[in-house]
């Protein structure tokens, strides 16, 4: 039968169309088909933990480290990064547009109690968002009110919802660029180094999961971090804009 591996991936990598672009190149080179199961980072790691994927492709450094430390994964490989952006209504009721400091923007939003849509699903994006609130010195537990809406859904759904609620939200640039229902939303804050969003791949540990196709999985990882794979990632654009940036150097 055909050679294939199963990759449990964060939704942003799949929804942005990246895989659709680069996987055929990988298949042509190696003959290995990659089956991508798009899930939230939390669920993707859980899938790996249950040995149901050969490789996980996620973006939450803290839980990734835990995943490897507990022996579920072999090793983290940084693959690429993009960044988070603060998106909000074009009318910008909190007056944050053009700022470079995300914490200032968040403070303004909290102080004016302008609607903010949080993923609220423990995803990589959600965790990053909470780190940023913390960095802004805002205790969410206290500041929370009807303005802070925990959507409990994926990035796309949250964008759909925020667009209707005139709410601010944090999203990754890849999903934003590929999102087709922007309505009244626009990027208001970007470029802060704290908005850095690194993606990693991890081979699921074959000693814990004997069914893992370790050679094929490793081949995929190797290709992603190889110059060829990195070039493919960097070449992916939507509307002339690059979504992801190669990141081999950031390997830890």
């Amino acid at each position: 039968a055909d050679k294939f591996i199963t990759v449990a991936s964060t939704t942003s990598a799949e929804n942005s169309g990246l895989f659709r672009e680069i996987l055929p190149q990988f298949k042509q080179k190696t003959g290995i088909a990659v089956r991508v199961v798009a899930q939230g980072t939390g669920q993707a790691l859980d899938t790996g933990r249950r040995c149901d994927a050969d490789v996980v492709f996620v973006h939450d450094p803290a839980s990734e480290e835990k995943f490897v430390a507990e022996g579920h994964g072999v090793k983290r490989h940084g693959v690429m990064y993009n960044d988070f952006v603060l998106v909000g209504p074009k009318s910008d009721p909190a007056g944050v547009a053009g700022g470079k400091d995300i914490t200032i923007a968040l403070k303004k939003i909290a102080n004016t109690k302008t609607p903010f849509a949080s993923r609220g699903d423990n995803s990589g994006t959600h965790k990053a968002e909470r780190r940023l609130w913390q960095a802004a010195g805002i205790d969410l537990e206290k500041a929370k009110g009807p303005w802070y809406r925990e959507m409990g859904s994926g990035m796309g759904a949250t964008l759909n919802t925020a667009a209707q609620m005139n709410a601010y939200l944090l999203t990754d640039r890849g999903t934003w660029l590929s999102f087709k229902n922007p309505v009244e939303l626009a990027i208001l804050v970007e470029g802060d180094t704290r908005l850095f969003n690194p993606y990693s791949v991890i081979l699921v540990n074959p000693t814990k999961c004997p069914n893992v196709k370790k050679d094929l999985g490793q081949a995929f990882i190797d290709w992603l971090v190889s110059p060829e794979g990195q070039k493919a990632i960097g070449a992916y654009q939507i509307g002339g804009k690059q979504l992801f940036f190669p990141n081999t150097n950031a390997n830890s």
């Binding site: 899930q39 939230g40 939390g42 669920q43 993707a44 790691l45 859980d46 899938t47 609220g120 699903d121 423990n122 995803s123 809406r149 925990e150 959507m151 409990g152 859904s153 994926g154 759904a157 759909n160 919802t161 209707q164 609620m165 309505v183």
Partner: protein
């Protein structure tokens, strides 16, 4: 302990603790699904009775359409209601999107075809027995339809329960039009979906167990009431 065991433990925990957040979610779920079932039955039972009894041109087409609409995905209904209620949509001014009302609307649309198609079958079966007698008694189509709704009421309970089950179980529509906002539009099924996407399968399953226990309880009550009434009124 395995996931299933954990799930049961979580379910028992949540129930015995009476977790106020859970209680809120449960009550909203019940409110949304029961209201939708009520409204949908009010709309669909007459439709079912009419298509079961009357022979009008286009009746067969209507029957096929309702049968087919039982296969309309909740997500699609969600999207349609979303477009309808969105600020850019025709009913945008009412500000109903992301409210329980929006969820009730979506679930109502979801189950109307189910209740209509199934009740049509029940009523049509009864009609083959009653038809000549009722027509001879001078009953018009409306009166015949009403008579049959009454005479088959015990069978229709199962039909309505099927509609309720569908409403209680669906997530696609309420997720889109409700937005799964914590404390506002989060219901059992969207909470389950959320925990699943977080990878917290035991909690997701635990919520599932709570939900199905609830539905079970409601069904037991409905069945009990039906049995008693059936014994009394034959």
């Amino acid at each position: 302990m395995n996931t299933l065991g954990l799930a049961f433990q979580q379910a028992i925990d949540m129930i015995s603790r009476g977790d106020p957040e859970l209680v809120e979610i449960v009550l909203l779920s019940l409110r949304v699904s029961l209201t939708a079932t009520l409204i949908a039955s009010g709309i669909a039972l007459p439709i079912g009775a009419a298509t079961g009894v009357a022979k009008f041109p286009g009746r067969q087409v209507l029957i096929v359409i309702f049968n087919a609409l039982m296969g309309l995905p909740p997500v699609v209904i969600g999207l349609l209601v979303y477009l309808l209620l969105s600020r850019a949509g025709p009913l945008g001014d009412y500000g109903l999107l992301f409210t329980p009302t929006a969820m009730i609307i979506a679930q109502t649309i979801l189950i109307v075809p189910i209740v209509a198609a199934l009740s049509r079958q029940v009523i049509e079966d009864a009609w083959s027995e009653y038809s000549e007698q009722l027509r001879s008694l001078g009953a018009g189509l409306t009166q015949s339809a009403l008579t049959l709704l009454w005479d088959t009421r015990f069978s229709l309970v199962t039909v309505v329960l099927a509609g309720f089950g569908r409403a209680a179980a669906e997530v696609g529509a309420v997720m889109i039009v409700g937005g799964n906002i914590a404390g506002v539009t989060r219901v059992m099924t969207t909470a389950i979906a959320l925990e699943t996407s977080k990878g917290d399968l035991p909690l997701a399953l635990g919520l599932g167990i709570v939900l199905i226990s609830l539905v079970l309880l409601l069904n037991a009550v409905a069945y009990g009431v039906k049995r008693i009434a059936q014994r009394r009124y034959g």
